[in-house]
Every structure is written in C-alpha cells, then in structure tokens.
Amino acid sequence: MGSMWRNQGDGTAFAGMMRHRLNLLFLLPALAGCNALPRDASGATERIEHSGEMRIAVLPGTPDAAPALALLHAYAAQHDARLAMVAVHGEHAPHWLEDGKVDAIVGHFAKASPWQAHISLSKPVARAEPKNSKQPVLRIARRNGENAFILATDRAVAETAE
C-alpha cells in the first residue's frame, strides 16, 4: 500500500498531504485508544459543544416523542448544551438533516424507510424492533457520517431498550 501511494501521489502538495494522512491510518489504531474513534465527519459534536445548542426537529404526528427527546437532552447536557427545537415541514426535515441544518430528527420511521440510505436511523426508541419492517416506529434520525454522535445515540437507545 505504501509504495502505491508513493507511485500515485508524487507531484502535488495535496497528494502529499493525502499520502501522509493515509499512511497514518495504519499507525493510528495503535496510538489512539478504543474510545477515540469514531469521530464526526462534519463535526456535529464539536459544533454542539461550541454553540451550546443541539438543533432538533420533531416530525408532526409524533405524540410519543418524549423518550427520544429525553435521551437527546441527556446527550446535550453531557456537552454543556441545550436542545433547540427547530420548526420544519415534515417533507423538508430529512433534507435539512442531510444539509446539516438540524442535528437530529425525532419521528416515526420504518426500518425499510425510503430515507434509509440518506440518513442514519436509530433502532426503535423504548420498544423492540417490529417484525414488519415497513411499520413506522419512534426513531432518531441522524446525519450520515456523524459517527461519534450516531454511536453515542445508539448506546443510549440500546439502554432504553433494556
């Protein structure tokens, strides 16, 4: 692998930087503790810490949102932040999440949701996974790639299931 980066990467400063970073990949597991990974691709957690607020959209027709909001509130509190509720039309909400305009959506989604590839859906909150994969249940939708936030909420959701 190393020689491959060398062959392909000579020439530009950008390629040199990429090569350096990619070579580092093999050393990092040894250097970083297991808890250091993963990080957010777009820095959601850092933004929440800096701004002191976590932007949440609750989809219309979600009367049972409370357990999911409690879970997100606990996460925000850990990072010295508060929940900021964002009013958004249901149809726009997943797009806003994709664009990073909100940090999470609370709403009813099916396991086989058409949004599945575009946003990261948690397991059902405070209930077991229904047998019918098309049945919408309470879930937290996160922005794809925000893996630290996704893992933290996955852990919290798993605790509510217990």
Binding site: M1, M4, W5, Q8, M18, R21, L22, L25, F26, L28, P29, C34, L37, P38, R39, D40, A41, S42, G43, Q116, A117, S120, S122, R142, R143, N144, G145, E146, N147, I150, L151, D154, R155, A158, E162
Partner: protein, 307 residues
C-alpha cells in the same frame, strides 16, 4: 492420456495440488463472505467488499471446471478434446478480475463525486454497544489472511503447470487482500471523520486490479486467436515458446515456425515438408517441459511439387 485429452503424468500431481488449493479457496472465501456479511450493517463500502469477495470465487470455480473438462477424452463431436476449456476459463477469470476492478472503481468514484459520508454506528452485543467499525476491521483482517497464504501457494503451482487460470486466480487473491487492507484503512478513516478515505483507498486499489485484469485479458484474447504462447506474468512471448521456435528453426533450415497454445499445451507447425526423422518432444522442449508440446505438424508436399 490420449493425444487431445487427459492430464500428462508429468504434471498430474501438481494439477491435483492446484485443485486442492482451489477447493480450499472456495471454503475459506465462503467463510470470509459470511463473516463480512454478518458485520456489513448498512455500510456501502462493506457491501462492495462482500460483492468483490463473491466475484473472486469465479476464477477458482472456472479452474476446477476447466480441469474437469481437460480430463475428458475426445469424441466424434469434439475430436480435439476439451483442452481449450482452459483458454475459455482464462477469459472468464480475467473478465471476473476486470469486473472486480471496475466495480470497485465505480463505487469509489461515485462516493467521492456525491461526497457520501459513510455511516458506521453501534452494534449491541451481549449487552454492550460497541462501534461496528471495530468488528468490520476484525472481519476485514480475517479476510486478508486466507488470500495472502493461498495466493502465495498457488503461484509456483501455476508456473509449473503453465496454468493461466490459476495464475489469474493468484492475482485475484492479491486483489482480495489489497482490497481488505484498503477496507481497513477506509474504516479507520471513517472513524477519524475522513469520509473520503474509504473511497480513495479503494480507488487506488481498483486501478492496480484493473491493470492486472487488462494484462490477463490481453493474454486470454491472444490465446483464443491462436497467438504465440505468452508468458504467465506478461504479454511477452513465453521463454519455452521462444526456445522451441529457435530449436525448430535450427533443425529445419530456418523454415517458418508457428506456435499456438490450447490451454497449457503448445501445437507447433513447421512450414516445410515432413522430415524423415521427426524430433521427439523431449529433444525439442527438454525432459521437464516435454509434456507442453502436444503436436508437431509439417506442411504436406505441395501438389504441384516437381521431381
């Protein structure tokens, strides 16, 4: 062994060894596919790796099929036997290798263009939720081991029995372990928040795979077009073919010599009238490679030849 069927005794043991290695390959790679499938979650990169591993079974399967057909005797419908099944298998194996490279390149480029941020979340096992990336890395590390060992073992056998399918399969194993390492780098990159790392690593690997595959395809097409036998590892003429041409030219007053390859066997044609003493395969190829020369033919006396 008959003229156009069966495996020569000189390479029978190595061909058997090649078959055993391929059965081991199928067993190990199926276990790799299962392990990867269990941990792939919704990761597109892992799905691509599973598809790549499934495609990598193709050369092993076509090698086993071609050896099976090679053993069959010629018959009235196929008087030249089934040895060209090996040439056909070589084309299929090379195409499978190219498909793997092409698929990987397509996935990588589309991910980079769309700027897709791969999601790898948590998985709950025995009451603990851990990052799925660690399991993916473990599965990918497992996926790297069998191809390295099996590919290393296949290479010398492929050279001894002059089998391009087995050689291509060794290249496929190289593609497998390189893709596995790229996958590990990619998952760690995802963990570090570098969304582009996975696709970039895979793109570099796909270029290397495609280069090997295009080389193999060139040779497969040459063989099917009755080209002069090529070396296993490049498109240049093979050393034994060069030596055979030189030996025949020296023996038959610089007559035109044409060689072609059917599977692992060479057929030679000398453009002169049949001599009284026809040389043996051992004289022309040496004892070790005598089995390679399946036939030696001469031009019949022209009808209008004068006294």
């Amino acid at each position: 062994m008959s003229l156009h069927g069966g495996i020569p005794r000189a390479i029978a043991a190595d061909v058997k060894r090649g078959e055993r290695l391929e059965y081991w390959t199928l067993g190990w790679m199926v276990s790799v596919v299962l392990v990867m499938w269990l941990v792939m979650g919704s990761s597109q990169a892992m799905k691509a790796a599973v598809i790549e591993d499934l495609l990598s079974l193709v050369p092993a399967i076509v090698f086993l099929l071609s050896v099976h057909w090679e053993r069959r005797r010629p018959n009235r419908r196929f008087p030249f036997g089934y040895r060209r099944a090996n040439s056909l298998a070589f084309l299929v194996a090379a195409t499978a290798l190219l498909s793997v490279g092409g698929f990987l390149a397509y996935e990588s480029v589309t991910t980079l263009i769309r700027q897709e941020h791969p999601t790898v979340g948590g998985i709950t096992l025995f009451g603990h939720t851990i990052w799925l990336g660690w399991l993916m890395i473990a599965a990918l590390a497992y996926s790297v081991v069998p191809p390295i060992i099996l590919g290393h073992m296949k290479q010398p056998v492929a050279e001894r029995i002059r089998d391009k399918v087995l050689h291509t399969d060794a290249l496929m194993q190289k593609a497998d372990w390189q893709t596995g390492l790229a996958g590990i780098a990619g998952i760690i990159g995802i963990g570090l928040g570098w969304w582009w790392a996975d696709a970039t690593a895979a793109l570099f690997i796909s270029l290397s795979i495609a280069k090997d595959a295009i080389g193999a395809l060139e040779k497969a097409v040459s063989e099917l077009l009755d080209g002069t036998p090529r070396a296993l590892d490049s498109n240049r003429l093979s050393d034994d073919a060069e030596r055979l041409i030189a030996a025949l030219k020296a023996r038959f007053e610089n007559a035109d010599v044409r060689l072609r390859e059917t599977g692992r066997y060479i057929a030679a044609e000398v453009d002169c009238a049949p001599p009284k003493d026809i040389p043996t395969a051992n004289e022309l190829m040496g004892d070790d490679l005598a089995w390679r020369l399946a036939s030696l033919s001469f031009r019949p006396e022209p009808a209008d030849a004068g006294p």
